[in-house]
């Protein structure tokens, strides 16, 4: 079991690197969707000891929302914003991947110090979660386009969700659904905003959203 969990966590980490290193928007959206699907799988595997119907249903809903619904939404936003299909990073892809490596090292270090107290399903849980969060933050700050920032946000959420899965056996259903709903609506609203930005500015370059500042 541990091996399967480890494999999923590694795949999550690798999709994180794919996202950091790929220059195509479509590839990024696909990567984040794959992460979502992996998360659903992870939730299933983690609780495979005592499988309950609610657990399975929740995992399936999560996988559908994060793996299918949100990527479809993002693809639509990309099409409607009628943007070029390039990622347009502020730092080079090599630097992104290197920074990702640094973040991986950092999350491993944190993982050594923050250990899950009870029944450690896999000691890679905390590092994988923290790496995904940090990589999401990196994508948010190092990419120009508004839509890539949404992708980064989604990745960050995925990282938090990985951690949630580690303690999943203990979270009530309502909360899980609420969190999922929030993320969904959040991305939905951001998608609308991206659309408006592209119509208003003829681009979705968030760097040019800079007219508001302090004129002293």
């Amino acid at each position: 079991m541990n091996q399967v969990i480890d494999s999923i966590l590694i795949l999550l980490t690798l999709t994180g690197f794919v996202l950091l290193g790929s220059s195509r928007l479509a590839a990024c959206i696909k990567a984040v969707g794959i992460q979502g699907a992996l998360l659903g799988l992870l939730a299933l595997v983690v609780q495979s000891g005592d499988l309950s119907i609610t657990g399975v249903v929740l995992a399936l809903i999560g996988a559908t929302v994060k793996g299918i619904l949100l990527p479809v939404l993002l693809f639509r936003a990309m099409r409607e914003a009628d943007t070029t299909r390039e990622v347009e990073p502020l730092i080079s892809f090599n630097l992104s991947v290197l920074a990702g490596a640094l973040e991986l090292a950092m999350s491993l270090w944190i993982g050594r110090h923050l250990r899950l107290p009870a029944d450690p399903v896999s000691s890679f849980f905390v590092p994988a979660a923290i790496f995904t969060i940090l990589a999401g933050l990196l994508v948010i700050v190092s990419r120009r386009k508004a839509i890539t920032q949404v992708i980064g946000y989604l990745m960050l959420e995925n990282g938090v969700y990985v951690f949630g899965t580690a303690v999943a056996l203990r979270m009530p259903v309502l909360v899980e659904l609420g969190i999922l709903l929030d993320v969904f609506v959040g991305v939905f609203v951001m998608g609308i905003a991206v659309f408006h930005i592209s119509r208003q500015f003829d681009h979705i370059d968030s760097l040019r959203l800079a007219s508001l500042n302090d004129r002293v």
């Binding site: 091996q3 480890d6 494999s7 590694i10 980490t13 690798l14 690197f17 290193g21 220059s23 892809f93 090599n94 991947v97 290197l98 990702g100 490596a101 991986l104 491993l108 000691s123 890679f124």
Partner: protein, 303 residues
């Protein structure tokens, strides 16, 4: 030194060009062509050996000795690599570091030869080759480090020999990562797609081929043959990790490993048939990713 420890090296010397043939055949079949015979690389080598060599007026003895130095470095490297149950010709603690340096020495000779011609194309190829090779060393060593950490041995023969079903049972994820990283190193070191296109006809886009453009006749045959040997040895390392079954019978194991090498050739052919060459600027990202893979493998093993 036992007599059978010469076996891996002899096998490599005899069969190395075949891998090239398998790759070409696979590509041809995927593209819907009949393709050249499997033995074509041998025929090419024979043809080159029969011809005379032409040397540029500006080239010095460095250019003439480069192929020989390259070949001997590769053969020395091959003496460290086991094949299936057969141990390598010689092995000692830390020989995997020597392996890295011997590979580098071979490349150094060829690069010097390329620079010696004074041609701008060859200089360009040499600089690219060195840049990517330097980046490829990180994943290679990290991957080997993961294996060392897992098996607890600093020498290639015992380390690769210890990769068994058992190891896979408790460290499958990191083994997969190691293989992934080594595969990328394999493609880079051997100038295959997606890093380099061995069949390109445009010098500007070449990496390895442009570097050996001035070699001709027997010299070129030696260069080609050392490239084939290098491919075989790196492939043997990958296969030793990827094919962990040990039947007990040395010959059966060797047959297994040979099938593995053939499979590796087919995989390479499939990759070449299905992918395009990466832009030069993107190659470092690929190699960095390979380094990440092997670093991750190392961490997973070390935890």
């Amino acid at each position: 030194m036992k007599p059978q420890s010469a076996f891996p090296l002899l096998l490599a010397i005899a069969l190395a060009p075949m891998v090239q043939g398998i790759i070409n055949r696979t590509k041809a079949i995927v593209a819907g062509r009949a393709g050249q015979p499997l033995m074509q690389p041998y025929l090419d080598l024979a043809k080159l050996l029969r011809k005379g060599a032409v040397y540029s007026e500006t080239a010095s003895w460095v250019f003439r000795t480069a192929p020989a130095v390259g070949l001997s470095a590769i053969i020395c490297a091959g003496a460290l690599i086991p094949f299936a149950a057969f141990p390598s010709l010689t092995h000692f603690g830390g020989d995997l570091v020597l392996l890295g340096y011997l590979l580098a020495l071979g490349r150094f000779a060829i690069v010097l030869g390329a620079l010696d011609t004074g041609s701008s194309f060859e200089g360009m190829g040499a600089s690219r080759e060195i840049a990517f090779a330097a980046l490829a060393e990180a994943p290679l060593f990290l991957a080997l480090a993961a294996i060392v950490r897992e098996t607890g041995s600093l020498s290639l023969t015992p380390a690769l020999g210890a990769v068994s079903i058992n190891v896979w049972n408790h460290a499958a994820p990191s083994m997969c990562l190691t293989i992934g990283a080594l595969l990328i190193v394999f493609l880079t070191e051997n100038a295959r797609i997606p890093v380099d296109d061995p069949t390109t006809h445009l010098e500007l886009t070449m990496i390895h081929e442009v570097m050996v453009l001035d070699h001709s006749g027997p010299d070129f045959a030696i260069v080609q043959y050392s490239a084939a040997l290098k491919m075989w040895f790196l492939g043997a390392i990958i296969v030793a990790i990827a094919v962990p079954w040990h039947v007990g019978n040395a010959l059966a194991d060797a047959a297994c490993a040979l099938a593995g090498i053939a499979a590796l050739g087919i995989v390479t052919g499939l990759i070449e048939a299905s992918m395009a060459r990466l832009r030069l600027l993107r190659v470092p990202t690929l190699l960095l990713t390979a380094a990440m893979l092997s670093a991750l493998a190392f961490v997973m093993v070390a935890k």
